[in-house]
């Protein structure tokens, strides 16, 4: 256990359940206390879980192509709820089809996410980054 808590889940009306299970498993193995909210998670649910568990970061997954619509406003709601500067991560198949990822990444960083990942990013990449960002590595 590294003493850090992560809240994660698949946002919006997205039901793709397998990826988040693997992510949750990988992060737990890496020493995190993982609060896995599963699929169909609303923005409010991430925030409430993060408040109650004193989470160090929120990891959002979106597979079905509507990530942009679902993620908009999450940063502002976090600010509103007192989760100031909580790191936000997002990955999966964020948009429909094959858009240039640099462009997609910019969209999500502008929305207030600390990092955004292209389709098929293995959990290890995320773990390495989050370790670094939380001062563990």
């Amino acid at each position: 256990m590294n003493g850090k808590t992560l809240v994660m889940g698949v946002i919006g009306a997205d039901v793709h359940a397998i990826g988040i299970k693997i992510l949750s498993h990988a992060f737990t193995e890496a020493g995190y206390n993982v609060v896995n909210l599963g699929v169909m998670v609303s923005q409010e649910e991430y925030i409430e879980a993060a408040i109650e568990t004193n989470a160090n970061a929120i990891v959002v997954s979106s597979l079905y192509g509507h990530g942009e619509m679902d993620c908009r406003g999450l940063r502002e709601k976090c600010d509103e709820a007192g989760l100031k500067d909580i790191p936000l991560y997002v990955g999966g198949n964020l948009v429909v089809g094959k858009r240039d990822f640099a462009e997609v990444e910019k969209t999500f960083l502008d929305m207030g996410f600390n990092r955004a990942y292209p389709p098929g990013t293995p959990p290890e990449v995320g773990i390495a980054d989050i370790n670094k960002d939380l001062g563990l590595a």
Partner: protein, 451 residues
């Protein structure tokens, strides 16, 4: 002389007694007398027993059991962090212990919240907040705020275990009796009501019994006195073993209590469950829905329904309100117009309390059409709705009142769809809950024959 078991319910107004046969599964008689707070609570008890023995002949009690809601019941306030998480968990735990949860607070307590708590003057405060290892700041802040309130309540700390000891120190520094028990939400979205429930029952015995003037009387009973709603809760729980899924409603002077015994999982396909997992045996207390002490909400609803033409406004409403305010124990004569107003308000209380108790559906429009999610328990499949408590059972037309517990049309509120309606005609639920603690089988067969 018969041998019998005596079950006593010390209420705010009446002390009710039930004699149960020692040989057969049978009620020998019931009776009541005014609760005697001013002198000795045993005076009222003795009067009720004398009255009882007029029906049954002299009785020899092998066991004496008692529940109490005297002195306003076990008044509690629940405090948590996020409304849908630890605040709800704390409220649920306190309700399942038989408490009257007057109000639930979330996030940091403000000065205004503390003023409200002082005004409520609870017997106990259940303080939660944070999963184990989760948020500490808020529960510590709230301990500090509670410590400063000038009222004699005790505090049960059932929050983040990493903050519990500091919270206790803070509360003790403010001269509050404070005990620590297991977290009501040890991990995210897991409800663990048992530790808080048993801490509440211990404090009820240690502190509340004395505060309500029951110490002397308590010595005469064969088992510890428990809160009346807990006895009723255990009775409905027992009954569900024989009847299946059920709902019970008790409209009182100060609160309306709803008990549901069912899993409450979605009955419609493709519905996702949201929020805190619901307990199979669930009790809720609506502190603003009572026929006497807390009439305002009900009267307002009656008036607004009247304004929309749903109900004709009853004549004499003002006079009725005045009479009730002057005398909380007021019981109108059977054919008095006030009895009809009581019945109307009682129906509204049942409607609102069951609506709040029941789960609800929400639809969201997704790129793939409409998707439904359910928060709370789906009660549509519940087979029985049982009316308990004087205001329902002694009314002119109890089924008319109880119908308010059901869905008028299939909608988003998951109230029972087409249940059978039953009544606790003889007012024995508390007594049977007490009996069940010593003899489940006998209690169940009495209930089966009385309902």
């Amino acid at each position: 002389m018969h041998n019998a078991i005596l079950a006593v319910d010390f209420g705010s107004t009446y002390t009710k007694v039930t004699a149960i046969s020692n040989e057969k599964a049978e009620i020998l008689g019931t009776s009541k007398a005014f609760t005697t707070f001013e002198t000795d609570i045993r005076d009222g008890l003795n009067a009720a027993v004398q009255e009882l023995e007029k029906q049954t002949g002299k009785l020899n009690f092998s066991h004496k059991l008692a529940a109490s809601s005297a002195g306003g019941g076990l008044k509690m306030v629940a405090v948590g962090l996020v409304p849908a998480l630890t605040a709800k968990a704390a409220q649920t735990a306190a309700c399942s212990a038989g408490a009257k949860v007057v109000k639930t607070f979330s996030y940091e307590l403000t000065k205004a919240d503390c003023a409200k708590i002082r005004q409520i003057n609870p017997d106990l405060v259940l303080l939660s907040g944070g999963t184990d290892g989760g948020n500490k700041d808020v529960i510590l802040h709230n301990a500090k705020m509670l410590a400063e309130i000038d009222a004699p309540f005790s505090v049960i700390i059932a929050g983040n275990k990493a903050a519990a000891e500091d919270a206790q120190t803070t509360l003790q520094a403010g001269d509050k009796h404070a005990v620590i028990c297991g977290n009501v939400m040890p991990a995210f979205n897991t409800l663990d009501a048992e530790p808080a429930k048993s801490a509440i029952n211990t404090l009820f015995l240690e502190k509340i019994i004395e505060a309500k003037g029951l110490t002397q009387a308590a010595r005469e009973f064969s088992a510890p006195i428990i809160p009346t709603p807990l006895a009723v809760f255990e009775c409905t729980q027992l009954l569900s073993q024989s009847l299946g899924d059920l709902l019970a409603v008790d409209v009182g002077g100060a609160t309306t209590d709803v008990y549901s015994m069912c899993a409450g999982t979605p009955t419609l396909p493709g519905v996702a469950l949201k929020g805190l997992p619901e307990p199979f045996a669930k009790r809720t207390v609506e502190g603003d829905l009572g026929l006497r002490h807390s009439q305002e909400t009900l009267v307002e609803k009656l008036i607004s329904d009247g304004a929309t033409g749903n109900n004709l406004l009853p004549v004499g409403l003002e006079e009725y309100r005045k009479t009730c305010k002057e005398n909380y124990a007021y019981v109108p004569e059977k054919n008095h117009p006030h009895a009809a107003i009581d019945a109307l308000l009682c129906g509204i209380a049942v409607d609102m309390a069951v609506t709040r108790h029941a789960g609800f559906l929400e639809s969201s429009y997704t790129p793939f059409g409409e998707a439904f999610s359910q928060t709370g328990k789906d009660l549509t499949g519940v087979r029985y709705v049982i009316g308990i408590g004087g205001s329902v059972i002694y009314s002119e037309n109890p089924p008319e009142i109880l119908k308010n517990a059901t869905q008028k049309q299939r909608g988003k509120i998951l109230k029972p769809a087409s249940p059978k309606l039953l009544l606790d005609k003889k007012y024995i639920f508390a007594a049977m809950g007490l009996l069940a603690r010593m003899d489940k089988k006998r209690a169940l067969s009495i209930l089966e024959s009385e309902l």
